[in-house]
Structures are given as structure tokens and as C-alpha cells.
């Protein structure tokens, strides 16, 4: 479909590329995001990439919806539609008890042995789709069909930060202690909120992510190092 433009109040424009999630729609979001980052229109404050659309937020004192739309259309005409490859990031994960309370349930739901669920997760081709819900909550696409499970009927409270959780085709590494209805299959010592002022979030939207298995002893060592550092 041709991109659709929607005005949001006095201060944003939403550019939508499709009604349904697809690689091509998300690729178009990333390409426009990159183009606006390289050549921001006057008055632009920030852009927010999501699954099928990009929000362009602006200062209404400096510009308006029409001027932003004209600039975006210029970017779309100039944009090469192939999305950038994204940087590769490694996230370590420990699948051992007690960090994987739902591994058994995922195993039962999919008919795979727990080790096979882990193997399938490690084999996933993950990409950062967008952030949302809470600071640093990066939604990753790429859970293999064989281990896709629906959300739980009710969320579980107080799920610890660092939990590796899955639902449908998506995976997420939590950054806060929060409720979730997703299945918890592991725990990661990798900090998504890096604490580095120059690069405070591990991923950019569009990055590729590989999970790397660690055992409980390594997890303990790494989390202790993190706490000491």
C-alpha cells in the first residue's frame, strides 16, 4: 500500500506502511527512520519506529504537519527500500532453573523436550522490531514456529529484570521487575540499559540479536561482576 499519513494532535505525524506486520513494512519503517535521522526536517524532535509505522514528533512552533509530510515524501522518493543490515548484538542467557520457570510449560505445549526448546531458541534469527511498554523493553522478532506459544491468560507479577520471555513470534529481555503474561524461559546477565551515557541502550531498532547460552556458574560470575563494576 502507499504510505498513509495521519496527523496526531498538534505535534506529530504518523506514517503507516501496512495494516499487518511484515518484513517489508518494517523495512520501510527503518529506511524512513534512517533517512529522517540523516536529514531531519526543521522542527523535528524525534522519531519512534514501531512494527508498521513511524511516528515523527515535532515542535508545532517551528513547523506543522504539512511541512513534515512534504519532507517525509521527499525522503520516501529518495529512499532505497532495502533495510540496513543492523548491528549484531550478543545476549547471554542461562536456561537453568530457577531462571526458566516456564520452560516446562513451553515444552509441554510444543511437544518438544526442554533441551529442544532451548536449541530452537538459540537458533532463532532475531531482529529488534521496536521498543515499548517500559524503558529498554526491546521487542525482538524471530522466535521459530516450533516454539511459538500464546500469552498466558493472566500476567504473573514481579517477574525479575533480565528475564528472557517469549510470546508468539516475539522475544524480549526485561529491564525492570514488572508483571508479564509471556513465558519465562531464561535469565540474562546482559545489560540492555547499559549505564553508558554515550550509548545508554544496547540495541538500536533494526539490530540483529544472537542468544548465547551460559551455565548457572557463569551467570552468577557475570552478575556479580556487573554488581561490583
Amino acid at each position: 500500500m502507499a504510505p498513509e499519513f495521519k496527523a496526531i494532535a498538534d505535534h506529530a505525524l504518523l506514517v503507516t506502511f501496512a495494516d499487518e506486520i511484515s518484513d517489508s513494512a518494517h523495512g520501510a519503517v527503518l529506511a524512513l527512520d534512517a533517512a529522517l535521522g540523516a536529514d531531519p526536517p526543521e522542527g523535528m524532535i524525534e522519531t519512534v519506529p514501531a512494527m508498521v509505522n513511524l511516528l515523527v514528533s515535532f515542535d508545532p512552533i517551528a513547523t506543522d504537519h504539512d511541512a513534515i509530510k512534504t519532507h517525509v515524501e521527499g525522503c520516501l522518493r529518495a529512499t532505497i527500500k532495502s533495510p540496513s543490515a543492523g548491528t549484531s548484538r550478543i545476549v547471554q542467557v542461562c536456561y537453568d532453573a530457577p531462571f526458566s520457570p516456564d520452560l516446562g510449560a513451553v515444552s509441554a505445549a510444543t511437544g518438544l523436550a526442554p533441551e529442544a526448546v532451548i536449541k530452537a531458541h538459540l537458533a532463532g534469527d532475531f531482529r529488534v522490531l521496536m521498543y515499548g511498554f517500559a524503558p529498554g523493553y526491546a521487542y525482538l522478532s524471530g522466535i521459530p514456529d516450533a516454539i511459538q506459544v500464546p500469552r498466558k491468560p493472566a500476567p504473573v507479577r514481579d517477574v525479575p529484570a533480565g528475564s528472557v520471555i517469549i510470546a508468539g513470534p516475539q522475544c524480549l529481555v526485561t529491564t525492570l521487575t514488572m508483571p508479564t503474561g509471556w513465558s519465562i524461559i531464561g535469565r540474562s546477565p546482559t545489560a540492555i540499559l547499559t549505564g553508558d551515557p554515550d550509548h545508554p541502550f544496547l540495541f538500536d531498532v533494526g539490530d540483529r540479536v544472537t542468544f548465547e547460552r551460559i551455565d548457572a556458574a557463569t551467570f552468577a560470575k557475570l552478575t556479580k561482576a556487573g554488581a561490583d563494576g
Binding site: 495521519k6 498538534d10 519512534v48 509505522n53 508545532p60 504537519h65 515499548g132 524503558p135
Partner: protein, 333 residues
């Protein structure tokens, strides 16, 4: 430089440090946060002659009681109609006063409004996150929520005796219905549902915090299956959950979400909406996006002029008396 310090004798829930907020991180799941009522917050700083956006305390209906353990320091309180008590002296928000060592300052829910701001002639020492002290309430990142028993230390504390007294309240904010631009996902509602949202009256429910304000009123059924991809959210988005209940998302909103947004409150109306209390009723009225931009610009002009006026020091008591005498001189000449 002088320091001042307060002990938090009592802090209700959602009493947090706030500044002008941290825009620019929504792509990482981080909303701007900052004051819920940015106009009142700015007025409090302006009344002290502070830099715009200097960190202050956002006070919820839960209230705040501070015991000054080191002083004196001048402070400004603006926003809503809160009850302010300094020692035995009782007053209301929209005032500048000096707190002496040993004095107790309480700011509690008064006749109206949900949020008041305490700005200080000094700098509040508190943690920053992503370069700002604004508190993101769900994570606690930033300056943080005040806890009963904690100490607040100010550096560069000063007296601003030439600024004491009432703060002029703004009179340029719109009254009447909350102005919205429909969408961006109004296509997920039947035309008559959107019409009902724009004509019926809603009540602010108890589910009101820094993330958002859930409204009570007619159900707003979604037209189709509820499986739209997660889309970006802004401050002011009115999202409708699967049960047909609208929520206006505010300073600490999620940055994306899969519930359709029937409309978006224009930015000039967010400060006054934030001051509504549970039980108060409101209506929404539709304007075009072009009208919304025009309203935002005129609001910005009025706000700049208002803050410039509020930021003028009125002089010490002696100076004020002298000025009054001079004025009289002109009148009677």
C-alpha cells in the same frame, strides 16, 4: 555556597522530583516524563527567577510535609488550589515564601487540582538518568519518588526576599471541553462510536496516575478484531482497551501499544486536563490538526508572556513601598 536541607516528614504516593523532562528517547521505550502540569511547574520556577526547567518537587493529592533542618531558603508553590501551611501561617498554592531552619512546610490537597509544584531557590541534589532528574514513575529512574524520612539537600540555596508573595495565576488557558484531534486509529471504531466519544460526558476515574487517566462513561466498542500491530503513543493519546474504556495517556505513558487510539488531546489542553480530579466530569470536542497547531502557537505565545511577567522580581518590601509612593506621586501630580 549555602546549603539548605529538608527532612521529608511525610510524602504521599507519587510525590516525585521532576524537571522539564527528557524528550528524545521514545524510540528506546522512554517517555519524556517531567511535570504533569508543565505550566504550573514553569510558573513556580519563574516566580523564583530560576532557570526554566530547574528540578522541583511534584506533589500529588497525597501531600508532602517537609521539616527544614538547614536554611533559610526561598521556595515557590504553584499548581491547582492546594493548602499550604508554613509553621502556623496558612495559605494556598501560587505563593512564594521563605522557610527558616526549624520550620515545617506542608502542602496538601486543597479545594481543586491534582498536582502542585514546589520550586526552590537552589539546586536539589538527586540522581540523574539520561541527563535529567525527572522521575519516570514506573521504573523510579531519575531523581525518584520522595520517601518519608529521607533528606533533601539543596546546593546554592538562597533567599529571594524580593520575590515573596502571591504568584499571578495564568488566565489564558482554555476552559470548557478538552480539545482533541481524532485518530490516529479512529478507523477501528464505528462512526457513531467516535461521535459518542465527542458528544457524551466522561468522568475521571480513580485509576489516575502519572501514566494515564482512565475515564468512566459510555462504552466505546471496537469495530473489529483487536489485533492491530503495536503503534507509537504520545502524551495525550486516548487509547481504548478491549472492554471499550478510554484512557488518556500522560507524562509517563508507554511509548507503543496495541490498543487503538480514538483521539489525541492537543498539547495546550494537557496541563489543565492533568489538574482534573477523580469524579470530575469532562467532555471532548474535535478540532482539526491545523487548528491544533494554531492553538499550540497561540498558547506558547501567551505562556511566554505570562512567564516573563511572573519572573519579574517585585522588589523588597522597602522597594515596593517606595514604588507605591512614587506611583501615588504620579497620580496626584
Amino acid at each position: 555556597m549555602a546549603e539548605a536541607a529538608f527532612t521529608v516528614a511525610f510524602a504521599g504516593p507519587l510525590v516525585t522530583l521532576q524537571d522539564a523532562g527528557r524528550p528524545g528517547h521514545m524510540r528506546f521505550g522512554v517517555p519524556a516524563s517531567g511535570a504533569m502540569d508543565r505550566l504550573a511547574f514553569d510558573a513556580a520556577n519563574a516566580a523564583l527567577g530560576n532557570e526554566s526547567g530547574q528540578t522541583g518537587i511534584e506533589i500529588s493529592l497525597g501531600g508532602l510535609i517537609l521539616q527544614c533542618t538547614q536554611g533559610p531558603v526561598t521556595v515557590a508553590i504553584a499548581g491547582g488550589d492546594f493548602t499550604v501551611q508554613l509553621g502556623s501561617q496558612k495559605t494556598r498554592s501560587w505563593t512564594v515564601l521563605t522557610v527558616q531552619k526549624g520550620e515545617r512546610l506542608s502542602i496538601t490537597a486543597g479545594k481543586a487540582g491534582s498536582w502542585a509544584y514546589l520550586a526552590v531557590a537552589g539546586r536539589i541534589m538527586a540522581p540523574e538518568w539520561l541527563g535529567r532528574q525527572a522521575t519516570h514513575s514506573t521504573s523510579g529512574f531519575g531523581g525518584g519518588a520522595l520517601q518519608t524520612g529521607q533528606t533533601i539537600t539543596l546546593s546554592d540555596a538562597s533567599l529571594r526576599e524580593d520575590r515573596l508573595g502571591d504568584i499571578q495565576k495564568p488566565d489564558f488557558q482554555a476552559s470548557g471541553p478538552i480539545r482533541v484531534v481524532t485518530g490516529p486509529q479512529d478507523q477501528h471504531f464505528a462512526t457513531e462510536t467516535v461521535a459518542r466519544f465527542l458528544s457524551d460526558s466522561f468522568t475521571v476515574s480513580d485509576a489516575y496516575d502519572r501514566m494515564g487517566m482512565r475515564l468512566k462513561g459510555p462504552t466505546l466498542p471496537l469495530a473489529g478484531a483487536l489485533s492491530i500491530p503495536s503503534e507509537p503513543i504520545v502524551r495525550g493519546s486516548v487509547q481504548v482497551s478491549g472492554d471499550g474504556v478510554p484512557t488518556v495517556l500522560l507524562a509517563d505513558h508507554q511509548t507503543t501499544g496495541g490498543y487503538p487510539k480514538i483521539a489525541t488531546v492537543i498539547s495546550p489542553d494537557i496541563d489543565r486536563l492533568a489538574q482534573y480530579r477523580a469524579g470530575q466530569s469532562l467532555r471532548c470536542v474535535e478540532i482539526t490538526s491545523a487548528q491544533a497547531v494554531a492553538e499550540a502557537r497561540s498558547y506558547a505565545l501567551c505562556k511566554t508572556a505570562y512567564l516573563a511577567e511572573v519572573s519579574v522580581a517585585r522588589g523588597t518590601l522597602a522597594q515596593r513601598l517606595m514604588r507605591d509612593n512614587l506611583n501615588h506621586g504620579c497620580v496626584f501630580d
